[in-house]
Subunit: 393 residues, 2 copies
């Protein structure tokens, strides 16, 4: 592959990324999140690692298990397997019901607090168990992950199974969140050479394609089931960070099956979503936009959140790895610089998560119901891996 | 009553208020919101009155019926009764189920889109019918309002009736929203001299009192059932606008029953909530705060929304009417000035609703799922009435 960025440049960025991942981010979670008394993790951590809410949000419990297991599977550093085990035990003991629903929030001790009428807690539960099963070589846990995944597919097909009524006035729609997370899940579930999930991968790719509008250079969150535009506020929503994440999930898959057309599509999704989502005046990616320029109903639409930037880092480095186009590498560096200048906290480790449009910090906590040991370490870990691959070529 | 503000000053503010109410705000809704084809109102209106979403949000449909009926009941101007009638007909035809649940959102034609697992849609439905029954002298509609109100009380006592499971890990709590809306509802439902709802009024007052913490000079959104502090993020939430609204609901009730102790409490709630909620650096009332200074989890916590300021206008003018303390009148003028400088839109009428912490507009629409023909006209109409009373004394 032709690359137009010098090894010196690659090494420089690799050093920045590795230092942040190993000395600031993973250490923060290893040090502050384990709950020695009840298992699982404190995921609601203040700037300095202090617990500001003892409840345990299952998305973050599960994502931390996945992250710790994934780092262990790469490094074989036993600290990460040891950090994953109490998380998976807590999840298996408390998070799942007998009909394979998974709670959204539990008390510190593991009592149920809240269950969403959505399938995402179940998805992250599968993600956690699948990666941990690989780390611990446990057939039992792998089999549980696959069993819960079968339920997830049933819930996808019939939302009344998760308690969500189907109302007459709601037009049928395809939501980008579903195929993208399923594509990511089967990537984690499948073993090399296995074709069990090929039909799901194909379904996910077809569904994601419905959301991509080359004529608008936009990726839409919600479209009609045939991919046509919906003239509703939902049909006009653009979520640049989400679209970029879908782009790199697709690109990752395309690289695995070596499909040139899909690689091109993944890169286009990343490029277009960044172009539409970047705030030229104050920098950073917007959270939501309306494709017709109306005000997005979400009050936080113009805030700059950490995670879209994490997805953009992965997306552009993967795009560069695929295209060899230095423009993609520069975009990666642009986003990394924005993150290190605005989100990183050298004093206490990890990154902050929430800025106003102007880049001013609005929330001081490092972990909450939606932010935990996931987006930042995943981005740094994936980028570290890609930079090493680039350097080894 | 001793008043320390001159009649000239009162007249000056009355003129500002009346001009805004009659020439800018009510005209906006009368002109742009009626749906001539399907009845009800377009409540999702852009800056210039254009419809940006044809769906009909029931909170706003019902609140507009209430507002139009209330203005009619004050002015006997038939335009307002004519504007209320298609709204109440739309609600009665489409919004209520056979078991007295009320949808949160309908299509333009009236098909169901969404139902919350809360009781607020039902409350606003009752509010609409009760005030419209008075305007139209309809016993049938008044009786329906009272019947649905009985269901609301049942739903309050058993959240599983609105489909909300009770989870083991959720500590019992008292939420300020419930007693305050019920107190407002019975104020609208009851007829002069009627005592049907006295026991509910007493329950509401006792519940509201649990949330008031004189030693902290704070009003809390959520407390334990015995009023003790809850050491959770919910237990730390302060919502200054909501508390001020509770304060004037209580003060209004206290004035009606002429209870000096409750009057004092209502005024304290308004004063303390304003003092804790006002942003001394950039002006305006914060949306949420945490009593211990942690970052409130809501992403929009530091935004300045129109409605807390509307409540503060009513609250301080009512406090002045009660206390005769010029400081309360100055606070009323301070908030009115902030609103006219930041929210009002002299070009197209009505007010904008959403500003960032610095007072910069973030959303251009005049009506959405939570903003409609309600807070602004209610505040101006109540203030107009109070200023007229003050001038007539």
């Amino acid at each position: 592959m032709s690359t137009s960025v010098s090894n010196g440049r690659l090494k420089q960025e690799l050093n920045r990324i590795s230092k942040d991942l190993h000395e600031s981010v993973l250490t923060f979670w290893l040090r502050y999140s384990p709950d020695q008394d009840y298992g699982g993790y404190f995921n609601n951590l203040d700037r300095d690692g202090a617990v500001w809410d003892t409840r345990k949000h299952v998305w973050l419990q599960a994502r931390q298990v996945w992250m710790m297991s994934a780092v262990y599977n790469t490094t074989k550093d036993s600290r990460y397997l040891e950090a994953a085990t109490p998380g998976v035990e807590f999840l298996r003991r408390h998070a799942r019901t007998t009909d394979n629903r998974v709670y959204f929030c539990l008390t510190r001790e593991g009592k149920p607090v809240y269950m969403q009428r959505k399938i995402f807690s179940e998805c992250f539960y599968v993600m956690a168990l699948a990666e941990y099963a690989r780390a611990s070589a446990s057939d039992e846990i792998r089999s549980e992950a696959r069993k819960v995944f079968e339920s997830v597919l049933k819930f996808r097909d019939d939302p009344t199974l998760v308690g969500r009524p189907v109302y007459e006035g709601v037009p049928p729609a395809s939501s980008l969140a579903i195929p993208m997370i399923l594509l990511n899940l089967v990537d984690i579930l499948h073993e090399p050479g296995e074709s069990t999930y090929s039909h799901i991968e194909e379904w996910c790719v077809e569904q994601i394609k419905l959301h991509v509008k080359p004529e608008l250079k936009l990726v839409l969150e919600h479209v009609a089931p045939d991919g046509s535009l919906m003239e509703t506020p939902e049909g006009r929503i653009v979520n640049p960070g989400h679209a970029i994440e879908a782009g790199w999930f697709l690109l990752d898959y395309a690289r695995r099956i070596d499909n040139a057309e899909l690689k091109k599509l993944g890169i286009n999704i990343i490029d277009w979503s960044f172009d539409s989502g970047w705030d030229d005046e104050f920098e950073g990616l917007y959270y939501f936009l309306d494709r017709e320029g109306y005000s997005p109903p979400a009050l936080e639409w113009n805030m700059k959140l950490w995670w879209p930037h994490c997805e953009a880092m992965i997306g552009f480095l993967m795009a560069y790895q695929t295209s060899g186009d230095a423009r993609h590498f520069e975009r990666f560096v642009q986003v990394l610089n924005y993150c290190h200048e605005n989100f990183a906290d050298p004093e206490h480790g990890e990154w902050f998560g929430y800025l106003d449009r102007h880049g001013k910090l609005t929330h001081r906590f490092k972990g909450g119901a939606y932010k935990g040991c996931f987006h930042v370490p995943r981005a740094l870990w994936r980028c570290e891996g890609m930079l090493r691959e680039l350097l080894s070529q």
